[in-house]
């Protein structure tokens, strides 16, 4: 369940990274499809990152003499990470629900109070979740996996932006 929860959140986060990497690059008015494609691309990139993290976890589980202990530590750390990230996700989700109200003022408030600040603090939240997770099981394997995940989380939007620049320069 913990792995599933983290995978869902990682996929959602990657999809939104895809949205952010695409935003501000297309000035058309009707661009729902453009954003949808961007989010799917983000989610696909996210799966690559998840697969890499899963690969490292599998390798460490194969190499360790204490497989059960390591699995337990991964679960403990994962549960704590999930707690932080679910809290963040719930706030964002709540803002989306509020934003569905057809009022320019209410929608603007969600931008001002939630989407703006929470986009800025996302790296801090990512670090906080991982540190909170590591603290419950401070062993080398957990730290390695956590740092790898953090680098991928923080680098995903950059990678997507790079991919966009690359694909737009090759089409021009």
């Amino acid at each position: 369940m913990i792995a599933l929860g983290l995978w869902i959140l990682a996929t959602l986060d990657a999809a939104f990274a895809g949205y952010r990497a695409a935003a501000g690059r297309n000035a058309l008015i009707r661009k729902r499809r453009y954003y949808l494609r961007a989010m799917i691309l983000g989610a696909i990139f996210g799966q690559v990152a998840v697969a890499m993290a899963a690969g490292i976890i599998l390798i460490t589980l194969t190499l360790t003499p204490d497989r059960l202990g390591l699995l337990r530590d991964y679960n403990l750390a994962g549960a704590r990470m999930l707690l932080v990230y679910v809290l963040y996700a719930v706030i964002i989700l709540f803002a989306f629900i509020i934003r569905s109200i057809r009022s320019v003022d209410i929608r603007s408030i969600t931008s001002t109070l939630v989407f703006g600040p929470f986009t800025l603090i996302r790296p801090a939240v990512a670090i906080a979740g991982l540190v909170y997770g590591i603290l419950v099981a401070p062993r080398l394997e957990v730290i390695v996996v956590a740092v790898t995940i953090l680098m991928m989380m923080l680098g995903l939007e950059r990678a997507l932006s790079f991919y966009r620049r690359l694909s737009s320069s090759s089409t021009n």
Partner: protein
């Protein structure tokens, strides 16, 4: 990011057009740098230092155009998130209906001053947010931005026009002048002069959206632009816009001095009548014979309209 209030926006300095002939004038990088250095605007200096020049030290016009088109594309994000199209429609339609209630020509023209890449007009056209017999015309001095507005409108088959022109010298008579985010670019007496140009035969109203000055505005603007803008120029100008924004009182004073034949008011300074400042407010001016109908058409939204006179 420390930006002095008296500093101009970078986008106002890296291109220059003759207001009368609309001809492009060369811009010397050294002069732009000198101005920002004198104002101790280090952020702007860093941005301008990186801009390309030709052998005479003139900022490369094509590079500046590309940069401005990119920046406008990024800044459209703000218009989308803050629903500028919808905001405009919510006030424009009561105005249009008020004008129609009296004797007026069947076709009405709405002119967007300094339309840039034309987001608001394109949004109105894409959502059919104004009646079909309203002509939407955007005017801007910058040919690159107008070319981009035309390209985007054509790509979505939108019923709006964009012209490289002074909005007040168009062949068409504007029944209503509108704008988004340009008022704070007009400093000192130029703001009053801007409103004075609204006083002309056939023009019945104006509707100008801009940032609303409040103690929180610069921080809020920084937060927004830091999270979303990629171009340093967009970040600088976005934050400076909030710093330089006029108060409702300043806007009203300039409008009433420059265009005394209009009754004017500021719409939406406070949020839901609470002491919470809005990010944007709008200056509305309407000829006295239409103002009663306009207020009636606003319905419950009239509560957000300041004192109209």
């Amino acid at each position: 990011m420390r930006i002095p209030k008296q500093s101009p926006e970078i986008s106002d300095r890296i291109v220059d057009f003759d207001g009368a002939t609309l001809e492009r004038r060369p811009v010397l990088k050294s002069e732009v740098l000198r101005e920002f250095q004198a104002l101790n605007n280090r952020f702007a200096v860093r941005v301008v230092e990186k801009l390309p020049v030709d052998q005479d030290g003139v900022l490369d016009p094509q590079a500046m155009d590309r940069l401005l088109v990119t920046v406008h594309c990024e800044m459209q994000r703000m218009s989308e998130e803050f629903q500028h199209g919808q905001r405009m429609a919510e006030l424009l339609n009561p105005l249009l209906n008020a004008i129609r209630d009296a004797n007026s020509p069947r076709r009405l023209t709405v002119v967007d001053i300094g339309c840039g890449s034309g987001f608001v007009l394109r949004w109105l056209a894409a959502h059919r947010a104004v009646p079909d017999d309203v002509d939407l015309i955007g005017a801007d001095y910058n040919p690159a931005l107008i070319a981009e507005a035309r390209r985007l409108a054509a790509a979505e088959d939108l019923a709006c026009q964009f012209k490289v022109a002074n909005a007040f010298r168009l062949e068409e008579t504007a029944a209503i002048y509108i704008s988004t985010g340009i008022l704070h670019h007009f400093r000192g007496p130029r703001l009053t002069q801007l409103f004075a140009q609204h006083v002309r035969p056939g023009t019945r109203a104006f509707l100008h959206f801009d940032f609303h000055q409040s103690p929180l505005a610069p921080f809020g603007s920084w937060l927004f632009h830091a999270a979303r803008m990629r171009q340093p120029l967009a970040r600088h100008d976005g934050v400076l816009s909030a710093i330089r924004a006029y108060t409702a009182h300043e806007l009203l004073s300039a409008a009433r001095t420059g265009a005394p034949t209009f009754t004017s008011a500021v719409y939406g300074t406070k949020l839901w009548q609470l002491p919470i400042p809005r990010a944007f407010h709008s200056l509305v001016g309407v000829l006295p014979e239409y103002h009663e109908a306009f207020v009636a058409n606003l319905g419950s939204k009239a509560l957000s309209l300041g004192v109209i006179r």
